[in-house]
Symmetry: C2
Subunit: 332 residues, 2 copies
């Protein structure tokens, strides 16, 4: 794929950094024929790929705000600067989520007119071809109703761009379908979202209030909420899936007969496993900053990095950032 | 079981009312040797049990506040009055959740000192003997930090009473383990919960901030949150479990070989199915009102009603309401 500049991969971010991240970046360059550079400490990052030097690392559990402010030579800050300066066309990190958000926000800046960038996380759904896009998945914990409208617009643009949906159906996460259900934020946001002008601007349809059980059900493409509720819902889903898969696999391991039956079932279960594998989605997209920024989960494998680079390159090629600008931003 | 007065079962509430509810009440009386009365329209409720007459029904999708205010002769309001007047020792309803909460609050009243009654929902966990108690599961959408401390106290008392736990571990649902993580409400609540005096009063331990993925994991007994977040988490869990179980059963149905393997596995999977069956838990407990009130889920079967009556009777016998009064309420 031809890009104006390489994808910058933060070599120092993630539980398995730098080795697994470097392996993923090298595979992305070779298998997808993509220009890729690594960002990190040249003494610790050994690779055939170019390494943009950065002497500091913001740790996974470090306070994001302080990390970004103090560590100006960190791999995250340098990666975001590379995008800002045009030396990279996108950044990918499996590091500290809050710090990735902060570095992108401070160095790339917001798209003019966007109040708050949000983290859009694709949630794989059993039996569905496309994931559900949930945003905000954790960046903005205390939200205003107007921000949720922008999340709806950005999420719809992302669903159109990424999954080729003509008219994404966008729901507002609440605790009942009626417009009057929910807390104060939800009631205010529902009233704003009920005005069709926002949806016309980005080719979306407002599906009204939806509930937690609708996240895995058919019929929706995007669900918007504040970053606190979104993060709770995302992690509740992850925990439920892990717990239930563990219990089912435990039942398979009861005795010789169930183990043999499990072996027969594995080929039928593998597509489901692949569908739910978080390494397959390419990670979350930070929407509303002036550049492509992918936030992969902390435990990302090399395969997750390959998929993140693929999504980053496709989003650069398709012009995702300009599409968000057109749907949400105000003219400069 | 000897009770001071019978259990009042709302015969008109629930998707399968009155027939399935009546069948459950009759089974509870016969199988558990419990005194049970039904509350509802005598023309529609045919039963060998006594029927306390109530001519109105608050529908499942009716506005709860309006329903409780206007329908003074509804089965829900009459059931709550029976508890208030000592003609019943507890009430059970599978009807409109908000209206059940409202009727209990208005007719039974709050325990003195309790700011807001909360809905405590037991969440079955694969591979665990005891459920996790989540509260508030939907009654109070906009919460103050002090209320969350009372939810923690009431949840701990409930876990001790219901599951015989000596020192329940209580977590605050947030989006990161560090005390500084979360929105404004969570930061304030964490500071209050970090003071050990509330926990000493009810024999609990504060486990700090927990995340959505911890709901199904070991190590916690009670998780407190506002009613909006709690309801989203509860329904997200339900949706995830249903979606994944459906996908696994779909894989079992791939071909003759997988169907045969599925038959071999079923006995090993049945205990898990039983563990996750919402009909088995007896429903949610409304904590903080001056009486025992069980809110069963809308799709309750007769078996769910039997289990709800059992939990109600045990909570009356054990003195749950006085235990909540002792841990939370102020002396009269």
């Amino acid at each position: 794929m031809t890009l104006p500049a390489p994808i910058a991969v933060d070599a120092m971010g993630g539980d398995r950094a730098p080795d697994e991240i470097v392996a993923g970046a090298e595979r992305a360059a070779a298998e997808l024929d993509l220009p890729v550079v690594l960002v990190g400490d040249p003494d610790r990052v050994r690779s055939s790929l170019e390494v943009l030097p950065a002497s500091e690392v913001i740790a996974m559990d470090e306070d994001p705000g302080r990390g970004v402010r103090r560590k100006k030579d960190s791999s995250l800050v340098r990666a975001a600067e590379a995008v800002r300066d045009g030396r990279a066309s996108a950044m990918v990190s499996a590091g500290n989520t809050g710090a990735t958000w902060g570095a992108a926000l401070l160095r790339m800046g917001r798209i003019k007119g966007v109040s708050r960038p949000a983290i859009a996380t694709p949630l794989p759904r059993p039996g569905h071809d496309t994931p559900l896009v949930l945003l905000d998945a954790g960046a903005n914990v205390d939200c205003q109703a107007e921000w949720l409208v922008q999340f709806a617009q950005m999420g719809a643009v992302f669903a159109r761009d990424r999954y080729g949906l003509d008219a994404p159906r966008v729901g507002l996460l609440s605790i009942g379908e009626e417009p009057g259900k929910g807390d104060g934020l939800r009631k205010e946001a529902h009233a704003l979202l009920d005005d069709p002008s926002w949806a016309e601007r980005c080719g979306a349809t407002f599906a009204g209030n939806v509930e937690g059980r609708d996240l895995m059900a058919p019929g929706l493409d995007v669900v918007v909420t504040d970053g606190f509720t979104g993060n709770v819902a995302l992690k509740t889903l992850e925990g439920a899936m892990r717990s239930l898969v563990g219990a089912v696999l435990g039942a398979f391991d009861t005795d010789d007969a169930t183990r043999a039956a499990g072996d027969v079932l594995m080929p039928a279960l593998l597509p489901l496993y692949g569908q739910l594998d978080p390494d397959a989605t390419g990670g979350a997209m930070l929407l509303g900053v002036d550049g492509v920024c992918i936030i992969s989960h902390g435990s990302s494998s090399a395969t997750a990095v390959v998929n993140a680079c693929r999504v980053a390159a496709e989003s650069v090629s398709s012009g995702l950032v300009d599409a968000v600008r057109g749907a949400v931003g105000t003219p400069a």
